[in-house]
C-alpha cells in the first residue's frame, strides 16, 4: 500500500538546492549506514591519536588485522564453531522446553501453581553465576555451557508463551464457542495463533540472553570458544583479538535478530502495520 513507503529523513546540517525544502533527504537505512561509518572513523581517530596504546584500546584497523590473522591460522574458526554449537544446542533445547512448559502452565492450573515460583525465581536469578558449579558437575566441555544457555533462555520463552496464551482475547474465544468450537479447536485455532507473537518475542529475547550465557560460561573455564578467546586476550592485554571476538558476537547477535524480525513478518504479519 502507498502509505507503507517510509518517509525520507532530512539531514539537519546539509542543505541543497535539489529538494523542495532545500534539505538533503536520505532513506532511513542510508542515514544508519553513515552513522556506523562515522562511528568507526571516530573510533579509529580516537585510538590513533588520543589513546595511542593498543594495551587499552584497539583501533578498527587493528581489529580487522586480528580478525584476518586469526581466521588465517584457523584459530578463529575453532572458537566460533565451539561457541556456535553451545549456543545452538542450548537455544534449541530451551526453545522446545520453554514453549512446552509455557503451554503446560497456561492450560493447567495445577502445573501453573506448582511451577510458577520456580520459573519466576529462576528467571530473576542471574543463573550465569552458577557457571563454575556446572563445570564441576559436567566438566569443562560444551555441556556446562549448554546448561547455562538453557537456563538463561528457557524462562524468558516460558514466561512469554504463558503470557501469550493467557492474553488470548475472550471475545475471540466466545465467538468460536458460539460457532461450536471444541476446547481442542479453541486451543489450536485461537489461543495458539494468538500467542504466536508472544512466543516469537520470547525467543527473540532469548538470543541476547543466550549469547551472554555462552560468553560468560566460557570465561569461567573452557578450552575453546569466543568467551575463551576474550579471556585469554584480556589476560595477555591483546586488545585487537579481544575486540575481534566481541565484534563477531555482536555481528551474530545482529544477524540473528534481523533474521528473527523477518521470520516475524512472515509468521505474524497481523502484528505489523
Amino acid at each position: 500500500m502507498a502509505y507503507d513507503k517510509k518517509p525520507l529523513v532530512p539531514l539537519p546540517f546539509l542543505r541543497s538546492g535539489k529538494t523542495a525544502s532545500g534539505r538533503v533527504e536520505l532513506e532511513g537505512y542510508q542515514v544508519a549506514i553513515i552513522s556506523v561509518v562515522v562511528g568507526l572513523i571516530g573510533w579509529q581517530i580516537f585510538s590513533d591519536l588520543v589513546i595511542a596504546n593498543s594495551l587499552f584500546l584497539a583501533s578498527p584497523t587493528q581489529v580487522l588485522e586480528a580478525l584476518v590473522s586469526l581466521s588465517l591460522s584457523g584459530e578463529l574458526w575453532a572458537h566460533v564453531k565451539t561457541s556456535a554449537v553451545e549456543f545452538l544446542l542450548g537455544y534449541a533445547i530451551a526453545a522446545v522446553v520453554g514453549v512446552a512448559t509455557g503451554l503446560l502452565i497456561a492450560t493447567s492450573p495445577f502445573w501453573k501453581s506448582w511451577l510458577q515460583p520456580w520459573i519466576s525465581g529462576l528467571y530473576a536469578t542471574p543463573t550465569v553465576a552458577l557457571g563454575p558449579l556446572f563445570i564441576l558437575w559436567l566438566g569443562i566441555g560444551i555441556w556446562s555451557k549448554v546448561l547455562v544457555v538453557v537456563l538463561l533462555v528457557v524462562f524468558a520463552v516460558t514466561i512469554n508463551t504463558e503470557a501469550g496464551i493467557r492474553s488470548t482475547s475472550e471475545r475471540y474465544l466466545e465467538m468460536m464457542r458460539c460457532f461450536g468450537a471444541t476446547p481442542r479447536q479453541l486451543f489450536l485455532k485461537v489461543s495458539l495463533p494468538s500467542a504466536t507473537p508472544f512466543i516469537l518475542a520470547g525467543l527473540k529475547l532469548g538470543i541476547g540472553r543466550g549469547l551472554i550465557g555462552v560468553v560468560v560460561a566460557e570465561l569461567f573455564g573452557s578450552r575453546l570458544g569466543l568467551g575463551r578467546l576474550i579471556g585469554q586476550s584480556a589476560d595477555s592485554f591483546n586488545m585487537p583479538e579481544l575486540f575481534a571476538a566481541v565484534a563477531i558476537l555482536a555481528a551474530s547477535g545482529i544477524l540473528m535478530n534481523s533474521a528473527f524480525s523477518k521470520l516475524e513478518t512472515r509468521l505474524v504479519p497481523w502484528t505489523k502495520d
Binding site: Y172, M175, R177, C178, F179, G180, K189, P193
Partner: protein
Amino acid sequence: MTADKLEARALTKHFGDLEVLHEVSANIREGEFVALVGPSGCGKTTFLRIVAGLETADGGAVEVDGRAISGPGRDRGFVFQSDSLLPWRNIFDNTIVGLELAGRISAEDLARTRKLLDLVGLKGFENYFPRQLSGGMRQRVNLARALAIDPELLLMDEPFSALDAQTREIMQVELQRIWEEGRKTVLFVTHQIDEAVFLSDRVLVFARRPGRILEEVEIDLPRPRTIATKRDPKFVTLVDHIWKLIEHDVRESVLFEHH
C-alpha cells in the same frame, strides 16, 4: 411442534441480587425480523445471549423449532457487537470458520461462502486481512460469517453500534437487502429505536429493573424500506410511541447510573 421458530418461556436471570430478566416470554415466527429495544441494563442483550446459549437462564426454557437448547449450537448464527474477526485469518477464512469447526469443508461450502461475501458486498476482498478493512466492512464479514453456517435463527447484538451515523444508515439498508434474499428469522438487539423500527416486523420494547417486555409493537410499514421511510409520518409516530414507552427508564439509566 409449534409453528414458531423460537419460543422463549418465562426466562428469568439474576446477576447476584439484580434481577436482569423477570419471566420474559417471546415467540418469533419463521422468517420474522424482530428487534429488541430498551434502555441499557434492561436485559435485552442477556436475553439474546441466553437464546444463543452463551448464558444459562435461572428459570424458563428456550426452544428453537420445538427443541430445547442447551448451549451454543450451529442452528443459531451470532453477529457480535465487536466484530471479533480473527486477525490472523483473511476475510475468506474468517467467513468460513463456522463451517470449518463443523468438520470438513466441501466444495459446496467454498462456493457458498464466496457467494455470501458477494452478497454482503465484499467480492474481491477475500484475501484481505481484517486490519485492512473499515469498521463497516468488518461488520459485513461478521454478518457473512453468521450466515455461512446457514442458521435457523440469526441473532444480532447491536452490530452497528460502533459505526458512525452515516455508515450505520447504509448498513441498515444493506441488512434489509441481504435479509430479503433469504428471509432468515432474525432477533436483533439495539438501543436505537429508529433502527429497530426501520428493520423489523415487530419490536419488543424492554423495561428495566427487572428486565421485562413492556409492549410488543407491530411495524406494518411496507417493504422494501428506504432512507425516505424514516421521514414517513407513520414511521415517526411509531418511533415516538416507543420512545415514550421507555423514556422514563432511559432518563433513569442515564441520570442515576455511571458505568
